[in-house]
C-alpha cells in the first residue's frame, strides 16, 4: 500500500479497496520504523493524522470526497500549522506553536489531506544538504551516507522512502528541485506568486515559493491544484485562475521546442549526471520534441546575485526573532542588548548567522548600491535572458544539480562549494519562473535529476512534459533498497 502514488491511492480509496485510516496507520508505522534512520520528520502527528483520516473516510461515505480526500502527506516544517510546533529547523523556534495555519496547509486540509507530520529541513531553509537543521541531518534513503539535498531534504527523503506519497516543500534557490533530484523524486517550484506565502516562514521573500514534492508529475499536478490560487493575505500572490493541471497532463510532445542552455552543460557537471540528462533528452527527441541549443549568457552571475539578495532579505526577515515575544530567549538577560545578542546567538546556527551578517553588510550605507542594487540589476539581466529564450523555445532543460547526492559532511565546512550545488536552479528563482525536477537515471547508486524550466505560469506545460516522459520510463518507480 505504501508503494502507491497519490493517483493510485485516490483510485483505491474511491474504489473502497482500503480506507484512509488503514493507509494512514500503515504509513505512520513506516514513519515510526524508518524515521530513526532517516530523520526525515521533526514532528510526527499520529493522533491528529488518524483523526483527519477518519474524518476523510466519513466525508467519502457522505459522497463529498475530492481526489485528495484521505491522502496522507507531510508538511515541510516551514509551514505554520495551528496547534502543532513549527520549528523551521531552528532552535530559535524549537518550542514555537503558531495559532494559525499557512494558506497552503489550510487549502490542503480543506481538500481532505491527512498530515502525518512536519518534515526536517535546513535551518530557516538556508542550506543545500539538510545539514544545517537544529534537529540533525536527514539521510538519503538511496545511501544513508549521502545527504538528501536541501533545504526541503526531509520532504524529499520521506517521499523517496515511501513514508508519505507526497509532501510540501519550499524553494528559494532550488530547495524543492535539488533535493527532489538527489532523492530521485519529482518536485515543482511554481511561478512566484502562484502559491500563497501566508504562514510560510520567510527566508527571502522575493524568491520564496511553496510547491509540491511527490513521486510523479501526475501527483504533483494533483497537489498543486489544491495548493495554488489567489490569497488576499499575500500581496505578491497573483490573482489568476488555477488551471486543471491533471486534465492538462496529456498535452502532446510533438513539436515541443526544448532549449538546452550551453551554460548548463559545461565545467563542473558530473559526467554520469550529464549522461543521464542527455539520455533523457534523447528520449524526448524520440517522443517528437525538438531540442535546440540556446544561451543564457548571464548564468554565471546567478549565484553571486542570489547570495546578495537572499541574505539581504533574510537579514531583515529574521530580525523579528529577537527573544521578546516568542521563540528562544536566553537565560537571565542583563539588559536589552544582552537579550538580543544572546537570544539570537544561541537561537541561530552558523549558516543562518553567516547569511544574516552577509545581508546586513550588503544593505549597509555605502554598500547598498554596490551590492543590493547591483544584484537587483543582475536579476533583470537574468530575467531578460529567459525572456529571450522563451521567444524561441517552449521549455528549457538541463541538469537540476551538477552532481548526484554528495556525502554527509563532504561540503559542510565549505560554503562556496555547497552554494555551487544550486548553480542551475537559482536563476529560476531570481527570474520568478516555474521549474520542475524529475528523476532520469543514476550516477552510481545515487539518482540524477532533469530540470525543466517553463515560462511564467506554465506549470501545466512543465507537468505534462514530465508526465509524458514518466509514461514511457520507470525511473520514478524505482525505490531505494530497503524501503
Amino acid at each position: 500500500m505504501h508503494d502507491k502514488t497519490i493517483a493510485q491511492i485516490s483510485a483505491g480509496l474511491a474504489a473502497g479497496e482500503f480506507s484512509s485510516e488503514e493507509l494512514t496507520r500503515a504509513l505512520l508505522e513506516r514513519v515510526e520504523q524508518f524515521n530513526p534512520q532517516l530523520n526525515a520528520f521533526i514532528t510526527i502527528t499520529a493522533e491528529s493524522a488518524l483523526a483527519q483520516a477518519r474524518a476523510a473516510d466519513r466525508r467519502r461515505q457522505q459522497g463529498e470526497a475530492v481526489p485528495l480526500t484521505g491522502i496522507p502527506i507531510a508538511h515541510k516544517d516551514i509551514f505554520c500549522t495551528d496547534g502543532v510546533r513549527t520549528s523551521c529547523g531552528s532552535r530559535m523556534l524549537d518550542r514555537f506553536i503558531a495559532p494559525y495555519n499557512a494558506t497552503v496547509v489550510e487549502k490542503l486540509n480543506a481538500a481532505g489531506t491527512v498530515m502525518l507530520g512536519k518534515t526536517n529541513m535546513d535551518e530557516f531553509a538556508m542550506g543545500s544538504s539538510n545539514e544545517t537543521s537544529f534537529y540533525g541531518p536527514v539521510r538519503n534513503p538511496w545511501d544513508l551516507n549521502a545527504v538528501p539535498g536541501g533545504s526541503s531534504g526531509g520532504s524529499a527523503a520521506a517521499v523517496a522512502a515511501r513514508l508519505t506519497p507526497g509532501a510540501t516543500g519550499t524553494d528559494t534557490g532550488g530547495s524543492i528541485r535539488q533535493p527532489a533530484a538527489l532523492c530521485g523524486i519529482t518536485g515543482l517550484k511554481p511561478t512566484y506568486g502562484r502559491v500563497s506565502r501566508w504562514g510560510m516562514i520567510a527566508y527571502a521573500s522575493s524568491l520564496d515559493q511553496g510547491g509540491p514534492m511527490a513521486r510523479t508529475a501526475e501527483d504533483c499536478a494533483l497537489l498543486l491544484g489544491a495548493m495554488a490560487g489567489f490569497d488576499p493575505r499575500d500581496s505578491t500572490c497573483v490573482d489568476r485562475a488555477v488551471p486543471d493541471y491533471v486534465a492538462a497532463l496529456n498535452q502532446p510532445l510533438a513539436g515541443l521546442k526544448i532549449g538546452l542552455p550551453k551554460e548548463y552543460f559545461g565545467e563542473g557537471l558530473d559526467g554520469q549526471v550529464a549522461q543521464a540528462v542527455e539520455a533523457a533528452i534523447a528520449e524526448y527527441r524520440k517522443l517528437g520534441a525538438e531540442p535546440v541549443e540556446i544561451s543564457l549568457p548571464n548564468s554565471q552571475l546567478a549565484i553571486p546575485a542570489y547570495y546578495v539578495v537572499a541574505p539581504a532579505e533574510c537579514s531583515s526577515n529574521l530580525a523579528r526573532f529577537d527573544g521578546v515575544r516568542y521563540g528562544h530567549r536566553c537565560e537571565n538577560p542583563k539588559d536589552l542588548l544582552d537579550l538580543y545578542t544572546r537570544s539570537r546567538g544561541e537561537g541561530f546556527g552558523a549558516e543562518v548567522t553567516r547569511r544574516i551578517l552577509v545581508g546586513t553588510f550588503a544593505l549597509s550605507a555605502g554598500y547598498y548600491d554596490a551590492y543590493y542594487l547591483k544584484a537587483q540589476q543582475i536579476r533583470r539581466l537574468i530575467s531578460d535572458d529567459f525572456r529571450r529564450a522563451f521567444e524561441q523555445v517552449d521549455v528549457i532543460m538541463g541538469p537540476t544539480s551538477p552532481t548526484a547526492a554528495f556525502n554527509l559532511g563532504e561540503k559542510a565546512d565549505d560554503p562556496i562549494t555547497m552554494y555551487l550545488s544550486d548553480i542551475y536552479t537559482i536563476a529560476v528563482n531570481l527570474a520568478g519562473l516555474p521549474g520542475l525536477s524529475l528523476p532520469v537515471g543514476f550516477a552510481g547508486q545515487r539518482p540524477a535529476g532533469l530540470q525543466l524550466i517553463g515560462n511564467y505560469f506554465a506549470e501545466d506545460r512543465l507537468l505534462s512534459v514530465a508526465h509524458r516522459y514518466q509514461q514511457v520510463t520507470d525511473w520514478h518507480e524505482r525505490a531505494p533498497v530497503g524501503f
Partner: protein, 478 residues
Amino acid sequence: MKWETVIGLEIHAQLATKSKIFSGASTGYGAEPNTQACAIDLGMPGVLPVLNQEVVRMAAMFGLAIGAEIARRSVFARKNYFYPDLPKGYQISQYELPIVQKGQTIIDLEDGSSKVVGITRAHLEEDAGKSLHEDFQGFSGIDLNRAGTPLLEIVSEPDLRSAKEAVAYMKKLHQLVVYLGICDGNMQEGSFRCDANVSVRPKGDPKFGTRAEIKNLNSFRFVERAIEFEIERQIDLIESGGKVVQETRLYDPDKGETRSMRGKEEANDYRYFPDPDLLPLVLDEAFINAARTELPELPDTKKQRFMEQYELSGYDASVLTVSRDLAGYYEATVAALGGEAKLCANWVMGDFSAFLNKDNRDIADSPVDSVRLAGLLRRIEDRTISGKIAKEVFEAMWAGEGDADAIIEKRSLRQITDTSAIEQVIDDVMAGNPDQLAQYRAGKDKLFGFFVGQVMKLSKGKANPQQVNELLMEKLKG
C-alpha cells in the same frame, strides 16, 4: 551678532482609518494593552502585510489639498532597527519614492502678512508600539496596540524662521487634515504630533547651521516653547564658543527645556530597502480623480468665499472657517434666518462658541441647533426682544427650555414698543426721582444715563432702548 533661525517640521498625522495600515486589527484608542494587535501587528512568523486601500485615498486627498504631485508609483521600504516595541525588527515606511511629493501651504503671520511654506513630501508608514517603563519593577512593558497604526509623515522644507511660524504652520496643517477628514487631530492621544529640526545661523549666511531634532512634540504650546528654548540654547552655545552637535533631543514640558537623547541612540544605519512583501503602489488617473472629487471646500477657499458672500472681515471669516463644523453651522444659521450675515457671525463667534467651550461640547451635540439660533436672531431683528434679553433667551435655550418664541412667551420677555406704555414708565420714574430731575433740568446732562437705567430697570429690560432714549429726551426737557 544677529541670528536667524531655520526650522523644518516633520508632522505625524495618524490617519483616521478603522483598521491598521497592514492588518485588519482595530485602531481604536485606549484599549487594554495588547488587545488590539493581531498576528501581523505582533510580527509572528510567516505573516504578511496587506495595504489598507483607505490610507492611499487619504494620502492622495492630502496631496491634492496641498497642490502636490501624487506619485503614480510609490514604494514601501523597510527601515531596519531593533527595538522591543518594533515587532518585526523593521518599520514599513516609504523612503525613496513617497506617495506625495512637492506641495505647499500658505500661513498667516501675526503682522498680517502671509508666507508660503514648502512641503517636501508626505509618506505613508506604520507606527510602532509603546514601551512602558513605569509599573514594572526592573522590567519594561510592551503595548503593541499602536503597532501598525497608519501615519502620514509630512515633511516641510526648512522654510520656517521662528517658533511662531512653526506653530502657525502646524496649526494650518492640523486644520487641513481635520477638514479633509483624514485625521481626528486629537493631540492628547498623539494623533497629530511633530518632530522639529532647529538650527541657527548668522543672519545673511546662506549655509545652514548644524541642526538638532526635537522629538515627539504633541501640543502647539510645546512646539513653541521647545523651539524657543532650543534657539536660545544654540545661540548661547555658539556665542560662548561651543558648537551645536547634530543630535536628537527631547522636550521636558515640566522643566521647559530640551535634553539630549545621546547615549540612548547609537549611530543608526537603517538599511532601507524595498519591502519585498509589498508590490509598488501604482495609482492611475481614475483613482486620483476620484480622490479629487472627494475633496471638501478647503479652509482658504472657504474663508475667501465667506468674505465675499457674507461681506465679513478677514478676521471673522478666519474664525468661522476654523473648522468645517463651525463654518457649516454658521452657513445654516444664515440660511435659516434668510440673511443678517453679520448678526449671525457675531452670535456664532460669540455666545454660541462661548457656551460650547464652557461645556466642552462639539457642534454635533450642541443643544441649540442652527434653526433655533436663527429663530432667536429673528426676534432681535424684528425687535421683539433686545440683544440683551436675547442673551437670557439663549441661555434658556441652551438649558433646554425650548425654542426662542416659547421662552419669550413663557418668561414674558417681549420687548415693549408701545409708546404710551413706555411713557407711563417714564412718568413713574420722573415722579419717583424729583431731585435728579431738578438737577438734570439745571444742566446736569450726565444724569440722562441714570434715567435710562431706571426706565429699563422698571420695565425689566423689556422697553425698546431706542424708543426709551427718544421719549426720555423729550419728556425730560419738560
